[in-house]
Symmetry: C2
Subunit: 599 residues, 2 copies
Amino acid sequence: MTSLMNRQDLEFLLFDMLDADALCERERFAEHNRDTFLAVLDTAEKIATDKFAPHAHEADEHEPTFDGQRVNMIPQVKEAVRAFADAGFLAAGHDYEWGGMQLPVTVAQACLTLFRSANTPTSAYLFLTSANANLIRAFGSDAQKQRFLPNLLSGRWLGTMALTEPHAGSSVPDARTSATPVGDGTYRIRGNKIFISGGDHELSENIVHLVLARLPGAPAGAGGLSLFLVPKFRVNEDGTLGSRNDVALAGLIHKMGYRGTTSTMLAFGENDDCIGELVGEPNRGLNCMFHMMNEARIGVGLGAAVLGYTGYRHALEYARTRTQGRPANAKDPSSPQIPIIEHADVRRMLLKQKAYVEGGLALCMTGARLADDANTAPDAAQRQEAAMLLPLLTPIIKSWPAQFCLEANSLAIQVLGGYGYTREYPVERLYRDNRLNPLHEGTHGIQGMDLLGRKVGMDDGAAMTVLGRHIAQAVAAAGAHTDERLVSAASALQAEWNALTETTRTLLAAVRQDRTAGLANASIYLETFGRTVVAWIWLRQALAATAAHQAGRCSADFLAGKLAACRWFFDCELPQNAAQHALLRRLDDNALSMQEEWF
Amino acid sequence: MTSLMNRQDLEFLLFDMLDADALCERERFAEHNRDTFLAVLDTAEKIATDKFAPHAHEADEHEPTFDGQRVNMIPQVKEAVRAFADAGFLAAGHDYEWGGMQLPVTVAQACLTLFRSANTPTSAYLFLTSANANLIRAFGSDAQKQRFLPNLLSGRWLGTMALTEPHAGSSVPDARTSATPVGDGTYRIRGNKIFISGGDHELSENIVHLVLARLPGAPAGAGGLSLFLVPKFRVNEDGTLGSRNDVALAGLIHKMGYRGTTSTMLAFGENDDCIGELVGEPNRGLNCMFHMMNEARIGVGLGAAVLGYTGYRHALEYARTRTQGRPANAKDPSSPQIPIIEHADVRRMLLKQKAYVEGGLALCMTGARLADDANTAPDAAQRQEAAMLLPLLTPIIKSWPAQFCLEANSLAIQVLGGYGYTREYPVERLYRDNRLNPLHEGTHGIQGMDLLGRKVGMDDGAAMTVLGRHIAQAVAAAGAHTDERLVSAASALQAEWNALTETTRTLLAAVRQDRTAGLANASIYLETFGRTVVAWIWLRQALAATAAHQAGRCSADFLAGKLAACRWFFDCELPQNAAQHALLRRLDDNALSMQEEWF
């Protein structure tokens, strides 16, 4: 079987590109060192290999069913959930006092890539629970933390995030679910939610839903939503389980991929007996959610990158072993067939995948490192800088891997040919799984609006200034290099950054004048911006690999691979920006001027 | 329910762009006129709607199973097959003497789009049978035609094309299946085939396989393959069924999509008792296949275009009725939500789909018209010109819709958001179905090699000269137009064509010098070439729609839609060629210089 992630690449990112060693100098991580990081990666790899990978195919072929009473699924999912929880991964980043490992986000996320790679849908139950627990940790009262966190972090209970409603979809502020005070400090919840992943199952003793709902008289829109803790089984004051709450599974949703994860329609309070408790301040529910969104979106981006990465690994193994055809120059039809990796077009598809998936992974890991810096950098200015840069990059981290690592999955199928289209090989499943990522946690359209409509202009473009400084650092380092290829990449990146800032100026002026017209091509801007950012990430990888090789920490082949993928990105991907800059700068009105009756 | 194809668009293509009326002046089609064409379209639409569309979802959810004896599938497939055959569509293009309708390829293919749109996998059994019957008509002996054609054209028997073998995949010339003369004029067939669509089922009394196999002592490679007729049940001299032949179903292949069509592994002659008969000349089997390949590849392109088209139609209907969110300028969160088609980004995604799917459909229909001209144009020079142009365009027709109409399917999912990912809506199924099209009948890589390695340089580039003349005609017509938009599109197309001929010159020189290096980026060349061709197709559609509107044959909205999609293509798609021309002209060696051990 193909191994999961390339461990060498993961360790390169952690230690050579992102200097995870330096994190151990921070007080919060003082008990860690490179050995503890590697040990936890080993544990993750072992559990992922033994408990997650083996049932990935079966979970896809036998999706969960609902018999009207319970959700049934293959038993291996529960075993995997237990193994993950028992090894402490649900609490990987949490405080020692809660039984956590106090791992940096960077290292925790590196571990999680192994589980995602082995089995994304089974992992999802756990990642949702982590996100849920993080929210309770950040906004819950002490009593709520005492009653909920230990059971969530041990995996006895699992959690969900219940935002979306059938009539509102992406327009979360239109949520109608209501919360009426009972008088004893709790609330009666009423409403319907849809697409709630992990919304019902028999994997845990309880399921803790975090539900956005509206208090009586709350203002319309985003500013009138509050966050509620609504467990499937009520939780007594001492943390023990109480009676069944009025949360009903209205149905399972059948999906193209991600089939192992239940996606549910939930009915809260059909019998007017659904009790929830408020988390955080009234009408601040969406703010609580947004507070966690950066990490959630790093998670989605990483998920997309890892699905692409895993497909690439399978395609690579296939291309090395499958013989077919002969070189274009060959004359003798009875000469032996060659491994398909020797065909230029197959190599092109593999190199493109490598550029996408290693670029996507490094991008998301960079986001994780920024999360660490925002939380724990010793210097306040550094914390602030990271806290500005991460939100700017978040729409890119969410969307770029979802777009291009999905494309990598498609290329992996293409490498396998007809076999890639069959369910005997995992590449088609990875492609189906990854197709979710451009949709959830904000579509590309929404990420584009977030980037152009909010992030780049915020505080007079302060975050852009920070990003420009980071890019200038990479350009300076590469420009001063002895390797000619790095020097030319440096000047290409600088030119692209200049073009992007120019385009951004034009668009921001347009947005100020007419928001609708200015934002009409926000999705294209998102793509152009993303390509520039990933070029920066690739240049940093090339620099880090060069240094690692000079220091004897990586092989010549590993370095050559990074340089080749970096060169591919600069030669064959980055030039696609030019046409998009032209389109953006002329405020192309093709979409905007199209009339409904012309379709 | 969303209707299938846009009938208005189909008729526009037939009568305004491709002048199907003129075909009726040819002797072969003398009994036809616009009314008979429309009547047969009506019949197709009715059967597609009543018999094909209703079970499309169910056939996907309940794929065929093999119990060791028989293949089981939902009964509606057989009913649909019967209805199609009973209405005479299997013989749509065949001679009256064989019970055919003697329809032009153009009209027959327009009818078939309706069945594909309703249910691609069920249609596949029928289209394969048509292809099989066409081959027997072209290369079979009179006796073979008498024994096989009536039953195939009536649908009592169905047919397959059995080329691919497990060890050879796309490298068909490496086929090892053997054919040994028995002495009575028949042959004993032995070998294994894979990915044989419709290779087994209970839909018909017999299944007629056309099998590539190798005679004793035949040369290695393509020149040693012969074509054999190998029925599941032997066929007596009088055309009645004989005993079971030694063709065994070794297994069904489970696929990502296209699930309603059985894909099979077939074992011929496991008990050394598989009897076949030679079709055509010995060692000319691949030539027979290639003879039919143009039409087969038009079929694949059309299939891809129609799947994209159908997804677009669903997305459009959804976007018109689904309300969500508010204009970017809106301030009041309690104002009503708007239909999502009003969001610029949704409109962009719909317009892009329209440009892809209507462009793809018009491209393939243009191919069908060329097939008619090659077969039946009154003038020999016109026949010859068509016979040169069609093979040149075939790799584009095969690949462009498979790439971009698949992308349209992805955009359709994106328009539906989370709902698009569920199996409650057809868009995800259409996407899965369409993912096959870049793989079968020659992958993009193979089409690129065919285009650059064979077609463009053939006869000193004679076919390119013909295409250049056709493009110049469209450029001249549009350049002389009063509509400013058409004038500027004309000059953009001319510039693109000049760029393409320049790039082609450079690449052909490189191919002559070193075939491997010259062909290394053939897939990218294919894409660049395709974009140029589809720009030409869009300009022709814009011209035809303008004329149709002036003549009162289409509405102002219809014209505006065609002009808007044409403008989108020229403004937002065609400029992507520039970066690719640069890459191609510098003979980019990124893929070629990548070493296996660097991955």
